[in-house]
Amino acid sequence: VLYATRPLHTTQQCLAPVPPLPEKGGEVRYGLIPEELFQFLYPKTGVTGPYMLGTGLLLYLLSKEIYVINHETVAGACVIGVLIYGIKKYGADVAAFADKLSEEKIARALAVKNESIKALETAIEQEKKEQWRVDGRGYLFDAKRNNVAMMLETNYRERLLTVYNEVKKRLDYQVAMQNLKRQKEQDHMIQWVEKNVVQSITPQQQKDSIAKCILDLKALSKSAQAAV
């Protein structure tokens, strides 16, 4: 359905398409006298009528000196003779040349028309292809959705890892603190015990312990000598 603002091609007179030119012109005999005269005179005088008319007319003109014979007559006769000779000899060639020119013009116009038709057809095909491509937008959106889901998942896992790491760091810190504290307490206690023990060893005790050690050593050496 064609929507137009005004009615198209409703009147008789239509400029396009232009009707084609007629192939041949009106029939003309001897290049000068149209056939209509012969047809007009045929019913009354038959075939020779117009020729008799022409001859009679010519004789009348000559005899009454309506047509005077002078230098121009000779010149005219020569010109007409040359013209007829030229037309008879080169007429066909000139006609072929003119036909070729016209043919080329028509071919150019046709080529333009065909080019535009081809261009429009390719445009139509491409348009159809685009329409077919549009149908694939479902796949496109699925792929995009998958991408987005993957990105979200990745981000979530990254953050999870961060959280885990941070918590682990804090717990490690607490553990390290506790270990350090215990170790410090141990060291301190050991030191303190050693210090006290060393302090509690008085010189009298030292002498007594040394004497006891010597006695023990002697006893041991005796038992060792006996064993050997």
Binding site: L21, P22, E23, K24, G25, G26, V28, G31, L32, P34, E65, I66, Y67, V68, N70, H71, E72, G76, I87, G91, A95, D99, S102
Partner: protein, 84 residues
Amino acid sequence: GPLSGRLLMDVRLGELPAWLSTCDFSPQGLLGGVQKAWSSYYDKYINVKRGGPAGISMLLAGYCLLSYGWNYQHISKISFLVSL
């Protein structure tokens, strides 16, 4: 059909004066008539795909006759004829 709408070839001899009276002899009418005559001649003999010598040869012949008619007075003078 009506007398005024017919072309000259279709008018009978007895109706010729009546037909002439219906003709339009004002300048625009004459101009229109000349234009119509030329366009009908042009479309019949010249504006065809494969014309021949007929189209312009009839025009040239008509021109020859017309110029002969215009110069007849001068051509038929005895002084002109003797000087050749």
